[in-house]
Amino acid sequence: MPQLSTDILVIGAGGAGMYAAIAAARDGASVLLVDKGQVGRGGATIMAQMTVAVALGAAEPDSVELHLEDTLAAGRGLCNEELARLVCSDGPKRIVEMEQWGTRWAQEQGRVKQEMAPGHSVKRCCYVDFLNTGPAVAATLRRKVSESTKIRRISNLAVLEILTRSGRAIGAVALSLADGEWVTIQARAVILAAGGLTKLYERNSASANMGGEAYALALSAGAELIDMEFVQFFPIGHLAPRLVGMDPILWDPFRYKLGGKLLNGQFEEFIDRYGSTDFGRYNATRDIAAYAILKEVEAGRGTPHGGAYLDFRHIHETQLRVAFGPVIDRLLANGIDLTKMPVEVGPIAHYHMGGIRVDTNMQTRLEGLYAAGEAVGGSNGANRLSGNAITEAFVFGARAGSSAAEAAQRAPAAWDEKLAEKTIESLGFVCENSCSDGAAPITLQMELQKLMWEQAGPFRTGEKLTAALVRIEEMRKIDLLRLRISRERDFNLDLQDWFELRAMLTTAEAVVRSALGRTESRGAHQREDFPIADARFLKNQVLELKDGNLSTRWAAPVRLNRSESSHG
């Protein structure tokens, strides 16, 4: 059994994980950067074709304070204001650093070009042309990681438990997917950077590898989660025709720049039926668009794939080309000619505001356990401002890496071989316990995704959430233990699916319990049975595991000392 040892273990090698590794190595620590997929190729950052919000003030006067104001407004009173301020104040440093490392931000008159985006009060969003921000920053970070002699990368290694002793993270147990070997990792500090939970939902915009594992690992290690009810649904995600090689949220800038008509399955405009008007500009707000589309589908007026049509046929081809150049050709290669046909769109799970509860050093309540990127909860409150996701991946990554490196210097080398053996034994037992007449783990994953979409999706009721909770508990306690897991040693996807499913069920339960507890509508959490925001709920839900069961309590949001913030 391979035994690895490092100062810092970083779990997840997307934007935040790679940044954390680079920062920790820069501060002198040895780093083990692991990913269940391939290092630098998974997670959400690489998928993001859109923008990064930072107060550079390159396009027009801007400030950290103004960016923070917009971020807090989007968060509807629930942001951890200290974390939000960190994102806004450190964002510009990280963007400049990335430029020094080779990212070519789109330029205008010798300065970084900054565009307007929904929710921002000034032009603040930078990007890499055309719709290439995520792949470009991922490439920069991959190169930077590979240049560091202090960072060791391991691909196809799935971390399944964090090991702790006396309230301190001491390492982890992992499964090497290519050959089915168990691996132990001794570490002075551990950073969870394994992203969000969008894979819990049938319709989602992210990669296949974000099933909420970071949250499940954190809970099981003894850390707390916060704001788990706040899943961000993107209202006009791409549904059909089949489109590959593109981010399914690509229509937002199209609609924003050019205006796109939303039509129901009968080709009628319908936004006006839901208390809003498009004013002929065809850019109704995200929440109205999502609600209106789902209500039309419910009324039997959806499109064949269960959404609405988005129609650009009123825009001239030259105008399309000026705005989106080569993207038009990539669409044509997919058989999509916007001058001739509408596309089908609908809400899809896009991002998770909630996550692991940390302080401004990105430390959880455990010594030596940190989080970074989308895995972190709190900074976005009830809704995330567009463009803040990659900013926080960089900022939280850098912060977590530096904090962990510092902590590692004074951390005792603690290892518990017995605990590691016991953990592997209990995980191995799962594999032995296959039911030959059971269903495959992936089948139950699909059922969970459908359940979450239908009962805990964009618009919720107490009744639906309760039904979801009952079924999730049943899946976790009964079905999960009666699945068929094949015995292949090499690249056993059944086994990989099983462990993923185990994490997905824990995280799904956290989302549903939190959604049940918040009997109001605020930001991304919309309850049809409690449609109004209620001032009594200006507080956060905090979750932890107690004797193996999820327990929830309320806590006051972390507020900034305003006199202090004015100097931020």
Partner: protein, 113 residues
């Protein structure tokens, strides 16, 4: 992956690990214009045989670059290669060490345990 008009197509997939006899299995899968070969492989895992080993991470975006295989004898990203009404043969990359089924060892040596 709705299949409103019930059209299907056929996929022929090479199976097996190192040291096993090579075998080809055919699967009838739902077909809709625009569907990718990866869509069909994922459909097979869900509906027929979850033990089929395939490698992918981003599904849609051609961002992860890990889903390469031989499609009708050509090296392709299975997420971009389109299904056709005619049968398609999918095999592992010929110049990489085989792990199992369609999965080959594409991980650089310095990224291994």
């Amino acid at each position: 992956m709705a299949d409103p008009i019930g059209k299907t197509t056929r996929l022929c997939v090479r199976r097996g690990s190192v040291g096993e006899a090579i075998r080809y299995e055919t699967f009838d899968v739902p077909y809709e214009e625009g569907m990718s070969v990866l869509d069909a492989l994922r459909w097979i895992r869900i509906h027929f045989d979850s033990t089929l080993a395939i490698r992918y991470s981003c599904i849609n975006a051609n961002a992860c670059k890990t889903c390469m295989a031989l499609v009708n004898g050509e090296v392709e990203y299975t997420c971009i290669a389109k299904l056709t009404p005619e049968m398609i043969t999918v095999e592992p990359l010929p110049k990489r060490p085989l792990i199992r089924d369609l999965v080959t060892d594409i991980v650089p040596e310095n990224e291994k345990v």
